[in-house]
C-alpha cells in the first residue's frame, strides 16, 4: 500500500531537503523545479553542457517542425 506522501511524490510533489537554505527555498517557492537543479549539481560541468545541448537541439527541432507545419 502506497502511503499518501509517497503517492504525492509520485504525482510530482517535490520534497525540499530539510537542510535547504533560504535561497533554495525562495527559488522553489518562485516555482523552479529544484529537482532539476539537484540533478544538475550531481553532474560534472561538461555533462551539464551536454544535457543543455540536447535540450536546446530538441527545442530548435520542435521550433523548426512548427515553422514547417505552419508553412504548409
Amino acid at each position: 500500500m502506497i502511503d499518501e506522501e509517497t503517492l504525492a511524490q509520485m504525482n510530482g510533489k517535490y520534497v525540499c531537503p530539510p537542510d535547504a537554505g533560504p535561497a533554495w527555498r525562495a527559488a522553489m517557492e518562485y516555482g523552479f523545479d529544484m529537482s532539476l537543479i539537484e540533478d544538475a549539481l550531481r553532474m560534472t560541468p561538461e555533462q551539464r553542457l551536454e544535457q543543455h545541448q540536447r535540450a536546446l537541439d530538441m527545442i530548435l527541432e520542435l521550433k523548426e517542425a512548427g515553422e514547417n507545419h505552419a508553412a504548409k
Binding site: 537542510d19 533554495w24 523552479f32 529544484m34 549539481l41 560541468p45 545541448q53
Partner: protein, 165 residues
C-alpha cells in the same frame, strides 16, 4: 539555425582567442537548468584578439546579427578600434562577444573574477558563480533576475557541499 556551443568554443580555443565564458552557458556550467540560445563571451578587444575571433568563425558565414542588413564580419583596423561588442550569427549559432560585463567591468576585471573549468576538450575560463550573480543582478532584466534566484540557491548549496563543482 543550430546552436552548437561546444563547436564554437573549440574554434575559439583553436585560434587562441582570449575569452571568458559568461551569460547563460556560464550559468549552465554552474548548474542552472535554464536553456539559453546563444553563446556569450567576454573577450579582450584588441585588434589581435578580434582577428583571432574572425579567424575562428571565418568559414561559418559570420554576420553582425543586429545590423539591419546582417552585414558580414569583415574586420578592418578602424573597426577593431571602434567596436566595443560583436554580436554574430554563424552557421554554428549565435556568438556574442562583449568587451565588458555589467556589474563586473572590462575584460581584465572579468578575467580576475573568472575560474578555470576543465572539460574533456580543453580548459576554459568561466565567470565565477559570485561574479555571474553580480553580473545578472546588474543587468536586472526579468530573465536575469530569475537566473539569479537559481544561481543563489546553487551558491548556497555549494557552500554547504564543498565537493560540488
Amino acid at each position: 539555425m543550430p546552436q552548437n556551443d561546444k563547436a564554437l568554443l573549440l574554434r575559439l580555443k583553436d585560434q587562441n582567442v582570449e575569452f571568458v565564458i559568461i551569460g547563460g552557458v556560464c550559468g549552465v556550467l554552474h548548474g542552472v537548468s535554464l536553456v539559453t540560445f546563444d553563446l556569450d563571451i567576454c573577450c579582450r578587444f584588441t585588434g589581435e584578439n578580434l582577428r583571432r575571433i574572425e579567424a575562428a568563425v571565418k568559414d561559418l558565414h559570420p554576420r553582425h546579427r543586429l545590423t539591419a542588413n546582417k552585414l558580414p564580419l569583415e574586420l578592418t583596423d578602424d573597426l577593431c578600434e571602434r567596436l566595443t561588442n560583436i554580436y554574430l550569427n554563424t552557421d554554428l549559432g549565435i556568438l556574442d562577444c562583449l568587451g565588458s560585463v555589467a556589474g563586473i567591468g572590462d575584460y581584465e576585471q572579468v578575467l580576475q573574477r573568472s575560474i578555470p573549468h576543465s572539460m574533456s576538450y580543453g580548459e576554459f575560463r568561466i565567470l565565477s558563480l559570485e561574479a555571474l550573480i553580480a553580473a545578472k543582478s546588474a543587468v536586472g532584466r526579468e530573465k536575469d533576475l530569475e537566473a539569479v534566484k537559481l544561481l543563489s540557491a546553487i551558491q548556497e548549496e555549494k557552500k554547504k557541499h564543498k565537493d560540488l563543482f
